[in-house]
């Protein structure tokens, strides 16, 4: 089906797909900023992200057209790498791009009613422009093959994100300190990253990631490389909300506009994790003796700590969005735990969870946004009895919540099963026990909400029966169906992640 898409589209679109995917929303952004009508801006945002989604599908089709997964190398502006900037798409990139563009597209469809309610109409066009810039940055990170270019895109997306988070101030003033905190922390992360890239450049003389990985082999003992590794590791860890560098996340998610929360939760940390995986396994590669040590001594304990500590914190939250935010950090822990195994199976399990968690959290935040739009209030008490007032919205919430716990027949189960299998394969049974324990905590914090939603009487009995608008329900149920589809038949996703992991371990670039 995806291959057919490549045939239908004009050849020009197909050859330049890597560039167009990123450039289209970038060009649209200033255009959208000048539009007088918010509704028109929304239309353009949907078009732009939809176009990127099609490009991502085209790329996936091209990558999948060869048995072991092809690698598309696209020279920006015709300047051949390593001197010029290279966009480099393999199965892993294509997978992350599909996630980002897919979620971006659904988010832009769903966003209109909540944005209309939460953002002043004069700012709506600017808001969509910022969103498109953020989207561009995330796509760029996932597409580029150049380390410095990756930094640039990371900053593009981050700076736009700070703006988006701060715009939540219209609803809750606490969005401002949250955004400023996020700005500070994000800048520290980005600075660390760019310092690390600087060290690597000093040691090797190149910024192209493929070239870096070749040249790094010769300078293994160079202390600058070691320092560069440490800076990049921590910098990307911060962006990915690796425990204990996650503290910017809960407030940023809790106080930003509903739409922004949903989009960020599904994509932002995922892209940072992608970059981390890319640097760990492609650029450096497991031959570096220190890398294995850092996986086992840092990534694994941090992953486990996140799964436990943040799940506990989620248990004690009374605000649903904060609770989901803490749960996100815990889920990042699962992904990093899989990655820290340093095996193809482990990374594949991590990637599966990366995608699944994007789908799950996206749907959860969408449902919350829908409920907040109609009923106001994000505390647990506000959600009491909503199962009866808004059954469609809340059923989608419930299914995604069960998936977050890891109930069989849902996507969450597939990823946890794969993770436990990968852990047992390496004999890390104690980590598997922690996974199970953390799942029990998930049962508690999700169960608490589901119980309130479906079994408790509403606080205010006069609450009227009203669903979220159809334009929210459609993308929401789309995500739920994707979730169930993965849960019933994970072959497509597992095929992609296994391919991505195999290409990471099959000699890097």
């Amino acid at each position: 089906m995806i291959l057919a898409l490549t045939d239908i589209l004009p050849a020009l679109l197909v050859t330049h797909a890597p560039a167009l995917l990123v450039v289209a929303p970038m060009v649209l952004a200033p255009l959208v900023a000048m539009l007088p009508s918010g509704r028109l801006a929304w239309g353009f945002a949907v078009l732009g992200t939809g176009f990127s989604l099609i490009m991502a599908l085209v790329l996936l089709g091209q990558v999948q057209s060869v048995e072991d997964g092809a690698v598309i190398s696209y020279a920006m502006g015709g300047w051949a790498p390593p001197a010029g900037i290279e966009f480099r798409i393999d199965t892993l990139n294509a997978l992350v791009l599909l996630l980002v563009t897919g979620m971006g597209f659904l988010a832009s469809i769903f966003g209109w009613p909540t944005i209309k309610a939460e953002i002043a109409s004069a700012k709506t066009s600017m808001f969509f422009a910022a969103y498109l810039v953020c989207f561009t940055g995330l796509c760029g990170v996932a597409a580029t093959g150049d380390a410095f270019n990756l930094f640039v895109f990371l900053e593009i997306s981050s700076i736009a994100t700070y703006v988006l988070v701060a715009l939540g101030a219209g609803r809750d003033r606490r969005a401002l300190p949250a955004a400023s905190n996020y700005l500070l922390m994000g800048t520290i992360g980005a600075s660390f990253f760019v310092v690390g890239v600087g060290f690597l450049f000093a040691a090797t003389g190149t910024l192209n990631m493929a070239e870096l990985s070749l040249r790094l082999e010769d300078v293994e003992d160079n202390k600058a490389v070691l320092a560069g590794y440490a800076f990049i590791f921590v910098g990307l860890g911060l962006k990915a909300a690796m425990f204990p560098l996650h503290q910017w996340l809960p407030n940023a998610y809790a106080y930003s506009p509903s739409f922004v929360t949903m989009f960020l939760a599904a994509t932002a940390t995922k892209v940072a994790i992608y970059a981390l995986i890319r640097f760990l396994f492609s650029v450096f590669g497991l031959e570096f003796s220190f890398e294995g040590a850092s996986l086992i001594l840092i990534l694994m304990p941090m992953g486990l700590a996140a799964m436990i500590a943040c799940s506990f914190q989620a248990v004690f939250q009374t605000d649903i969005r904060r609770m989901l935010a803490y749960s996100s950090v815990a889920q990042v822990g699962y992904i990093l735990l899989g990655v820290s195994l340093g095996t193809a199976a482990g990374v594949s399990a991590g990637l599966v969870h990366l995608v699944n968690h994007g789908v799950i959290k996206g749907a959860l935040f969408m449902a919350v946004a829908g409920a907040v739009l109609v009923y106001q209030g994000t505390s647990l008490n506000d959600f009491r009895g909503l199962g009866r007032s808004a059954p469609w919205t809340m059923t989608a919430f419930g299914i995604s919540g069960l998936s977050l716990i890891g109930v069989p027949l849902t996507a969450g189960f597939q990823s946890k099963f794969a993770l436990v299998q990968a852990l047992l394969e390496q004999g890390w049974w104690w980590a598997a026990i922690v996974v199970v324990f953390s799942s029990v905590l998930a049962v508690i914090y999700m169960g608490r909400v589901l119980e309130a939603v479906f079994f408790q009487a509403p606080l205010n009995p006069n609450k009227r029966q009203k669903e979220a608008p159809l334009i929210i329900l459609l993308p929401l149920w789309g995500l739920v169906l994707v979730n169930l589809w993965i849960g019933l038949n994970g072959r497509f996703l597992f095929g992609l992640t296994d391919g991505a992991a195999a290409s990471l371990f099959g000699g890097g670039f």
Binding site: N181, L184, I188, F192, V234, F316, P408, F417, L424, R491
Partner: protein
């Protein structure tokens, strides 16, 4: 029939129908569907080909066999279908979509698990039984029921987790996931799977969830719950662990210890829950023996048990529905107002006590004979004691304190017609399969369904290497032994009652072993929660104080003043980032 239908697992159909019923607002249509579905599913089951994989799907690199029937799964599935049919009738007086639908989904999941052809499918439906059944407890709507339901859910899901881990071991070891019996505990994963089953089968010390949750369920809920979960575990044991000697002893202990609790318990539905435990002991013991006769005993007993235990719970449910209590101290003399319920309850009581002519007798005789011929004298004596105990607390105590005894003065209406109909049908089955063979009706009908007959042989029957023989329940010595036991036990009850020595019913709570994990466990959880709540802010304060002094420079370098003073968060985190950077540097330097 359509070509698709033979490959449709009836259980799966019931799960789907149950979920549909949850959203179906029209009471009559829903109940019509719920009664009809088990009948239709029985047709599917009867028509299903034996011993072949009827439906398979590939996923996760596993071959899932969704539907496979052999003589062992057949008898369990049939019993489950009959039970869900009776339950649907029994529930007709209520208009409760969630309860109706979840009861059907739960029954369907149990049936689908029974008809599963591999461990993974079994696991999936195993978990669905747990999740769907919890609603039957929740719907009681009381705080106690809510808390019991949560404990129940945690334990049931934990059982599923163990099963999943076990099957991951089996799979990881290169073993296929088909349901072939284990031969020893040395096989990978067998211990985990054993424990998973043991929790569901309510083994001693793992049993508390049962007495905790069932008596707190709704009127209909307790009836439904009594049929499926534990019998699914019995099936699973018969399938995976036949002939494991440890089961003989566990089973024997399991028959004996609930007797003491049941005799002094005041809540009659709790008495029935203890007695359920004791009955399961007989089946576990038989599975431990593992000969074809013993497997037949376990399966036949399970079949008969599902019906008569359901009947007893139904009668107690009817009393609860009309009178509002099932405390022995508050009941008595109800035979005047509820004559039909009384009769049906007595039939159930006589079945569970294994009076000749009733279903319990023809089923339990097989187990007793198998234990006797296996040479386990001590076990045989324990089972004998337990049989007397069953008569005491289920056979006599339940009907006596409810319907006779001192008249508590309740003058209520007879149970609703649909309840009477369900009880009547169950009572009919109890007698129909217990009678000697008269004109095609009688125990032969049950024996024809057994898993180890000349006509149909399940895999597990051959594991012990013993030949399959036909068994006669109505021989002179069987009947006489049983009658002696029964008459003496009744005599003992009368004498004790006369002499005033029978333990009087007192309103109160009897402590079972679950006290040890419930009270201190709750305390521990609460304490940890308090500690966490106090520790969190305290730690933030301490760390913030520390960091403020030590890292003033860093703070000034990384962030403008105002924001930090208000929030204090960015400081903490930048320090974390720096610390982690230092740590990574150290690790990298020393490892490299």
């Amino acid at each position: 029939m359509m070509p698709l239908l033979p490959a449709l697992n009836p259980g799966l159909l019931m799960v789907v129908m149950g979920l549909i019923a949850v959203v179906l607002p029209w009471q009559r249509l829903r109940q019509f569907l719920l009664v009809l579905t088990p009948v239709f599913c029985s047709v599917l089951l009867l028509g299903a080909e034996r011993g072949v994989d009827l439906a398979t799907i590939q996923t996760l690199g596993l071959n899932l066999v969704l539907f496979k029937v052999d003589s062992l799964s057949f008898i369990f599935a049939l019993a489950f279908l009959i039970a869900s049919f009776l339950n649907a009738i029994y529930a007709m007086h209520t208009d409760d979509r969630l309860q109706d639908g979840m009861a059907m989904a739960y029954a369907g999941a149990a049936i689908a698990a029974t008809l599963a052809g591999d461990l993974m499918t079994l696991f999936i439906f195993w978990e669905i039984t747990a999740v769907s059944s919890v609603f039957l407890i929740l719907r009681a709507g009381t705080k106690a029921a809510y808390q019991a339901a949560m404990r129940y859910l945690v334990i049931q899901v934990f059982s599923g987790v163990l099963l999943l881990n076990g099957l991951a071991y089996v799979h990881g070891d290169g073993g296929d996931l088909s349901l072939t019996a284990f031969t020893s505990f040395a096989e990978p994963g067998s211990v985990l799977i054993f424990l998973a089953f043991a929790i569901k089968a309510a083994f001693p010390f793992l049993h508390n969830w049962l007495q905790d949750a069932y008596p707190k369920a709704t009127v209909v809920g307790a009836v439904v719950l009594s049929a499926f979960t534990t019998k699914l575990a019995i099936y699973a044991f018969a399938r995976m662990f036949p002939g494991f000697e440890i089961l003989i002893w566990i089973g024997a202990v399991m028959t004996v210890f609930p007797v003491f609790f049941a005799v002094i318990e005041n809540d009659l539905r709790k008495v029935l829950s203890y007695s359920l435990n004791n009955q399961l002991g007989f089946m576990i013991c038989a599975i431990g023996i593992g000969t074809p006769l013993a497997i037949n005993g376990a399966a036949g007993h399970a079949f008969a048990h599902i019906i008569y235990k359901g009947l007893l719970f139904m009668s107690m449910g009817a009393v609860l529905y009309r009178v509002g209590t099932v405390k022995a101290t508050e009941l008595g003399g109800l035979y005047k107002s509820m004559p039909w319920t009384t009769i049906f309850c007595i039939i159930g009581a006589m079945s569970i006590s294994a009076f000749p002519l009733f279903s319990g007798f023809v089923a339990k005789s097989m187990t007793m004979s198998a234990v006797g011929s296996g040479g386990y004298t001590l076990v045989w004596l324990m089972l004998l004691f337990a049989s007397a105990g069953v008569l005491e607390h289920s056979g006599i105590k339940i009907p006596y304190f409810t319907f006779f005894g001192h008249d508590a003065g309740h003058r209520v209406k007879e149970a609703p017609f649909n309840m009477l109909l369900a009880m009547g049908l169950a009572a009919f089955i109890c007698i129909a399969i217990g009678l000697p063979m008269i004109g095609g009706l009688g125990y032969g009908w049950l024996y024809g369904l057994l898993p180890c007959t000349a006509a149909a042989v399940a895999d597990v029957c051959l594991s012990s290497g013993e030949a399959i023989k036909t068994y006669q329940p109505y021989t002179l010595d069987h009947v006489i032994t049983q009658m002696q036991l029964l008459v003496l036990a009744i005599l003992a009850f009368m004498l004790l009652k006369r002499a005033g020595l029978y333990p009087p019913e007192r309103p109160g709570t009897i402590l079972d072993t679950d006290w040890f994990y419930r009270k201190p466990g709750y305390g521990l959880a609460k304490w940890s929660g308090d500690v966490w709540l106090k520790l969190g802010p305290a730690m933030t304060r301490i760390s913030a104080a520390l960091f403020h002094r030590t890292f003033d420079r860093l703070e000034a370098a990384f962030s403008p003043r105002g924001a930090l003073a208000r929030e204090g968060l960015a400081t903490t985190m930048s320090v974390w980032a720096a610390a982690l950077l230092g740590f990574v540097m150290l690790v990298v330097l020393f490892a490299g």
